[in-house]
């Protein structure tokens, strides 16, 4: 079910101060996709989610789910959450402690007065789907974190909602369980072909789970794209910096062609094989991620994007090595193979992959 959000704004008043949570958000969330709202804490992502589900009311704008307008400040429409036909997994899971697993999962059906036999059938089916068969009579308080998470998911799925929303559902799990659950969740959602809106501040979660990612900042959507587009192609400084580690190099554009921009900077000349909106002579920032800086052997001075520097430090982090390289006064971070034969203090030759040097626009 497609969700259309038009010009939605929301302000809070806290201790006499006005805090803008959402300012004029326009967004269309496509149907049957996993759509992630990603951003630092306080960017408004949870507020947006709560506006969609109906737990908060925007100050202005319009929200439509499928054909139905669930909120409109102009038409004075507000459909309460229980009539929107959505469901949500909360950060705290919100498992009701006075009920067992069965009643927690059956609740959405009981609230809609579904016949008892059908409730039983559907709860059983859903519990089987999330691999919690046989847990029906377990008190909700006697479940592990991962099991609670799956009960919350089962409860959200059982009534076959039009849209399912997730508010940082993995943030209470430990690192290993979080990784497993992330994969499981992706498998569940892909199998169901359901529209899912997912809120997180964890970039790895966003990249690995989503079909589409929207990055938010200060109550606005900054950029929307597939995980790859966001990671590789973004030309916004905030997005590039937020989505992963990167080196930012200041310089001046000397020539701008269709698919190639040449930049002069303190290191020398950098060639970027990406489309950019820069004008020749303009001050620009180039971003190159650590994994696209490579050590090369032999005399390759004639190639573009090759620089010599000194390896200041090298830290082994398991699957790779992270090095700090000084070229003149610039300190760069680079990611090498764990087996690379370089040592601290070595003079090394580096190559920047021109396909992954991006010129930032803002």
């Amino acid at each position: 079910m497609e969700i259309r959000i038009a010009n939605v704004s929301k302000n809070y008043f806290s201790e006499g101060k006005r805090i803008t949570a959402l300012s004029g958000v326009d967004l269309t969330i496509p149907a049957k996709q996993i759509f992630t709202l990603l951003g630092p804490s306080g960017c408004g992502k949870t507020t947006l989610l709560r506006c969609i589900v109906g737990l908060e009311m925007p100050d202005s704008g319009e929200i439509a789910i499928g054909e139905e307008t669930v909120f409109s400040s102009e038409k004075n429409t507000f459909v309460p959450p229980e009539k929107r036909g959505l469901n949500m997994v909360f950060q705290s899971y919100a498992i009701w402690p006075h009920m067992n697993v069965f009643d927690n999962v059956a609740y959405p059906l009981q609230a809609r007065k579904v016949p008892r036999d059908e409730i039983r059938r559907r709860v059983e089916k859903t519990l089987r789907f999330v691999q919690l068969e046989g847990f029906e009579n377990r008190p909700a308080t006697r479940l592990s974190g991962g099991q609670q998470q799956r009960v919350a998911l089962a409860r959200a799925l059982v009534a076959e909602p039009r849209v399912i929303l997730f508010d940082e559902p993995l943030s209470n799990l430990d690192a290993k369980l979080r990784e497993e659950t992330r994969k499981e969740l992706r498998a569940f959602l892909t199998a169901l072909k359901i529209t899912a809106v997912y809120v997180t501040h964890d970039r790895i979660e966003a990249l690995s789970l989503s079909d589409t990612v929207a990055v938010m900042k200060d109550g606005r959507i900054v950029e929307i794209g597939t995980p790859r587009q966001i990671y590789f192609d973004s030309d916004r400084r905030f997005v590039v910096d937020f989505i992963g580690r990167t080196n930012l190099i200041e310089g001046k554009a000397t020539s701008v062609e269709k698919d190639q921009t040449v930049i002069e900077c303190a290191l020398g000349v950098i060639t970027c094989n990406q489309r950019s909106g820069a004008r020749p002579g303009q001050q620009v920032t180039v971003s190159i991620r650590p994994e696209f800086i490579r050590v090369i052997k032999g005399d390759v001075q004639r190639m573009p994007n090759v620089f010599r520097g000194r390896l200041e430090s090298l830290v082994f982090v398991g699957e790779a090595c992270e090095g700090e390289i000084r070229i003149g006064t610039t300190l760069l971070i680079a990611r090498f193979d764990a087996t690379a034969v370089v040592r601290e203090g070595d003079e090394i030759t580096l190559h920047f992959d021109p396909d992954h040097c991006s010129v930032l626009s803002a």
Partner: protein, 575 residues
């Protein structure tokens, strides 16, 4: 949009209504007390006058009363806190056997009303025919009695035992939350167990100990049962009994002078309660409560295990079993005598039939039962709304509400009674049961609020929101999520209030009039007339009523919480 606005309007109306109600209950008696202390007479205020203050504070006996009060309150505080520290330490930090006994000791004040506890000690230790005194006199052929309960030490001992549970409830959690590594490092530095206790454990617990002392001082300052039953026969007056003397004995009750004396009691009490609040807030800073799960190291008592347990066991015997036994025994024998074959032969239901035929006693049972059931129910309904506003609405007004309801925690019953008297005498409520009901709720509101606040805090807003998202409307959510989660808090709040109301004495001695006698006041009358047999019979009726109410409320509570289990059975397991 309309929905949110209506919600805002209802919650604002609710907050306002509660502010008015709670404000009336707490501010009205204080204000009337103040007004009364500057007035000429109870029925008509007359001109503004300072004469009542002059009269009250230049009384020659007043200095002695103040001294008695200071000794009585401080003495009780030391007895109660000392015993509580001992018990709390044994329970939380050592391997003493039968730890469940400690929980029972902390529940005692719900079972034994203070006036009966004081009377039972009087029956054991009074100099003319106290059972223990008689026994010792017979055994050693003495002329004089050894113990005299009609003395300051006697009053301090009994009050200290009565306030022991409250001190224990303050100290035990602090002791349990104590960061053991502080002690361990002392042990590592070579200090012995005892030295560690004196140099590390007790100093770190100082805020909790001070809080306990403060709280017991407030309680014993307001205490009326012990000073009236044990102090007045020996002419040892403290402020509470002095107030009672001014309004209830002598030729003319002087409510103006009572108000003037009451003002200083109230001021002391409020100051102490705010000090207590400050101390407990500070305490959270000092006592290091770490979030990691740890078990405090348990100190092995070795050979001292059972002797120490005997002390604890003896203490609980003295606290619970002895008073009930003494009352039961006294209600059956014709006059005070040491238990013997002859005493058992003389036993009869004489006092019981006398009480059951006494119209005033029967009326007092009816009145107390009504106040217990209806008062606690109304009180708990008010508490639910007040708690909801304090915990969930959280506006400026709800902050004021919290302070107001906390204020009444410091109200000494007899003083508030005088304040309410100045108010009720101007209304048709005067001398009706409703005046008692209003006074009770005003004074005991915090007892309903405490368990409900923790219940409300436990209901995370996500629990309600997820019900809405799952398709449950406001009422459905209330019925299936909010109410079931609140029931344990409602039940314990109701039990606390009902038991307090059934035994209420201090407020009632002021507000009760012919026709509105209540159990505790009638028991006090019997005590004043020396009718110990009838007193004991009525006292046992009182204990029976309290216990029955506790049991019924607990049963209803578990039945209501089992509704969910019932649903489970039908929807889930069957088939």
């Amino acid at each position: 949009m309309n929905r949110e606005r209506t919600m805002h309007r209802t919650s604002r109306a609710l907050t306002l209504g509660l502010l008015v109600t709670v404000g009336f209950l707490t501010v009205c008696p204080v204000f009337m007390l103040l007004l009364g202390s500057f007035s000429e007479g109870l029925t008509s205020f007359g001109r503004f006058t300072l004469s009542k203050y002059v009269q009250a504070y230049t009384d020659r006996a007043f200095a002695e009363i103040l001294l008695n009060t200071a000794l009585f309150t401080l003495g009780s505080a030391f007895v109660a806190t000392g015993l509580a520290l001992f018990l709390a330490y044994l329970n939380t930090r050592t391997n003493i056997p039968f730890k469940s006994l400690f929980g029972i000791i902390s529940l005692v004040p719900m079972m034994i009303p203070h006036i009966l506890f004081a009377v039972s000690w009087l029956l054991l230790l009074n100099p003319s025919n106290g059972l223990i005194n008689l026994l010792i006199r017979q055994m050693f052929n003495l002329e004089e009695s050894v113990f005299n309960i009609y003395s300051l030490p006697g009053m301090i001992l009994v009050e200290g035992l009565l306030d022991l549970p409250i001190a224990y409830l303050v100290l035990a959690p602090a002791m349990a939350a104590f960061d053991v590594s502080l002690e361990e490092s002392s042990r590592v530095c070579g200090a012995s167990n005892l030295r560690t206790l004196a140099r590390v454990t007790l100093p770190v617990l100082r805020p909790a100990i001070l809080a306990s002392v403060t709280l017991v001082i407030v309680r014993s300052l307001a205490s009326f049962a012990v000073p009236s039953v044990l102090g007045m026969p020996g002419r040892i007056y403290v402020l509470a009994t002095h107030l009672y003397r001014i309004i209830a004995t002598g030729f003319a009750a002087d409510y103006g002078m009572a108000a003037a004396v009451g003002m200083s009691v109230l001021a002391t009490s409020i100051t102490l309660i705010y000090m207590y609040r400050y101390l407990t807030a500070e305490g959270e800073k000092y006592v290091t409560i770490s979030s990691r799960a740890y078990r405090p190291t348990v100190i092995d008592l070795k050979n001292a295990r059972y002797p120490l347990f005997l002390i604890v066991g003896g203490l609980s015997l003295v606290l619970i079993v002895l008073p009930v036994l003494v009352l039961l025994y006294t209600s059956l024998v014709p006059y005070s005598m040491v238990p013997s074959a002859r005493a058992f032969a003389l036993m009869s239901a004489k006092h019981w039939t006398a009480v059951l035929r006494d119209p005033v006693s029967v009326l007092s049972v009816k009145n107390s039962l009504f106040l217990g059931v209806v008062g606690a129910t109304l009180g708990i309904v008010l508490s639910v709304f007040v708690c909801y506003t304090i915990v969930k609405v959280r506006t400026l007004a709800s902050g004021i509400l919290e302070s107001l309801s906390f204020l009444s925690f410091s109200f000494p019953g007899i003083v508030i009674g005088v304040g309410f008297m100045w108010f009720f005498v101007r209304t048709p409520l005067y001398a009706t049961i409703w005046s008692l009901l209003i006074g009770y709720i005003a004074t005991y509101l915090p007892y309903g609020l405490r368990p409900l606040t923790s219940a409300f805090v436990q209901i995370h807003s996500h629990l309600e929101e997820s019900s809405r998202v799952c398709g449950g409307g406001t009422l459905y959510t209330l019925r299936r999520i909010v109410v079931p989660l609140l029931i344990p808090g409602i039940v314990s709040g109701w039990i606390l209030m009902a038991t307090m109301f059934v035994r209420e004495l201090t407020l009632s001695v002021v507000l009760s009039r012919p026709g509105t006698e209540v159990l505790a006041v009638q028991i006090l009358r019997f005590a004043e007339d020396g009718l110990w047999g009838r007193l004991s019979a009525l006292g046992i009726v009182m204990i029976a009523i309290s216990t029955t109410l506790v049991i019924i409320a607990s049963l209803i509570g578990s039945r209501l919480t089992r509704v969910e289990v019932g649903n489970r059975g039908r929807d889930g397991v069957v088939g």
